[in-house]
């Protein structure tokens, strides 16, 4: 036999289409699938949560989280004042289980609602919001979370989605780098929509209790005023709360649509002993003269 060597002109063992095109196609496919799975599973979780009443949610969680009713210290004056507001608002928001308010010393201007019926207000917030109506809005917003069973919703979604991601990606760390941000964006968008819903509930409760919605945007405006620096637009996609300006606009639009009117706001009154005020360095003009 003869030996007739040659080199093949075309390499059949490799594919000749462009890898970048394939990459973007696959990436888009994966992200779309994750978002679609998120959306459909979210519907399922919502359906399940609708079947659970706020009371049952509170009972479920109070087994695991205490609502502070068993705390030894008597409530401070600020806590008592805030508790009174919450108790007054509760019938307007249709909450029948006990919700307790606590105040935490902190520079942060924030309030949080914990599962089981405990709201914690950070003292930084009390420095920024001076009117009773403004504080009532913040508390009504937290109560709105209870009414909408937002804790259950977010927890349910979190569990379902993280398990799904783990099951599908297996041990593959590379693809997790792609799927995790997609999943987080989905969660963030949902969280933002729940916050808007809570804002809406709060506005309605304010109108129900006070007859007007004066002071509703006081907290957001106070927070916007203090904020400086660069705002990276992209970060808002991952943030759990909508942008401050967006929230203010939404509330104004809603007020217009529902026919709510603004009104006079009352300053919050905390009955305090003067000695206590001097100790904490608060201006002694805290109490209305």
């Amino acid at each position: 036999m003869k030996y007739l060597p040659s080199l093949p002109r075309k390499n059949d063992n490799v594919s000749h289409n462009h890898p970048l095109r394939e990459f973007f196609l696959l990436l888009a496919g994966v992200v779309a699938l994750v978002l679609a799975a998120y959306w459909s599973l979210g519907l399922f979780v919502d359906f399940a949560v609708e079947r659970i009443s706020p009371e049952r949610e509170a009972r479920l969680f109070s087994a695991a989280f205490s609502n502070g009713a068993d705390k030894e210290d008597p409530p401070s004056d600020r806590e008592a004042a805030l508790q009174e507001i919450v108790d007054n608002l509760a019938p307007c928001i249709d909450i029948t289980f006990p919700v307790r308010v606590g105040v935490q010393e902190s520079e942060a201007a924030n309030a949080a609602a914990f599962p089981g019926g405990r709201i914690v207000v950070f003292s930084g917030l009390l420095d920024k919001v001076k009117s009773e109506n403004g504080l009532a809005f913040v508390l009504a917003h937290e109560l709105g979370h209870y009414k909408n069973r937002d804790h259950l919703r977010l927890m349910g979604r979190g569990i379902v989605l993280v398990s799904l991601t783990a099951m599908v990606t297996g041990g593959n760390a590379d693809i997790a780098r792609v799927v995790a941000p997609a999943r987080d964006v989905g969660q963030a968008r949902y969280s933002q929509s729940r916050e808007s819903k809570a804002d809406r509930s709060a506005l309605e409760a304010l109108n129900c209790h006070y007859g007007h919605i004066g002071g509703a945007t006081e907290f957001f405006e106070a927070m916007s005023a203090g904020r400086g620096g660069v705002d990276i637009g992209a970060l808002h996609y991952f943030s759990s709360h909508p942008e401050l300006k967006e929230r203010i606009d939404a509330l104004n639009d809603l007020a217009g649509a529902m026919g709510f009117s603004s009104g006079e706001v009352a300053r919050i009154r905390f009955e305090r002993e003067d000695a206590g005020a001097a100790e904490e360095g608060r201006p002694s003009g805290w109490r209305d003269q």
Partner: protein, 104 residues
């Protein structure tokens, strides 16, 4: 195109040899098959999905090898050997190689 894994094509004589030709392909299973395989891990039994997958890969690899032999002007491939390996997590590579010859 004759493809055998013996030294010669029986009944024919080899007139020219063109060198080694090879075909290879890398295939991955998709997420669904992964999940089914995970379940089978508990219950045991044949992983039909994988059998199909690897069978298709082998066919493709052989097709590629034949194409390369054709480019070189051969009409038969002798002494064909297979080699399977897993090169990436979740993907298997099939490599088939042989000597391209012209037979009459």
């Amino acid at each position: 195109m004759f493809v055998t894994n013996t030294e010669m094509v029986h009944g024919k004589t080899i007139t020219a040899c063109h060198g080694v030709v090879a075909g290879s392909t890398v295939r991955a299973k998709h997420a669904g098959r992964d999940i089914m395989a995970g379940l089978k891990n508990i219950f045991g039994g044949e992983l039909k999905g994988y059998t199909e997958l690897l069978g298709e890969s082998r066919d493709q690899a052989i097709t590629r090898m034949k194409a390369q032999a054709k480019q070189m002007g051969a009409n038969a491939i002798v002494n064909v050997r297979f080699s399977t390996s897993s090169v990436a997590a979740g993907a298997a590579e099939i490599y088939v190689y042989g000597t391209a010859v012209t037979v009459e």
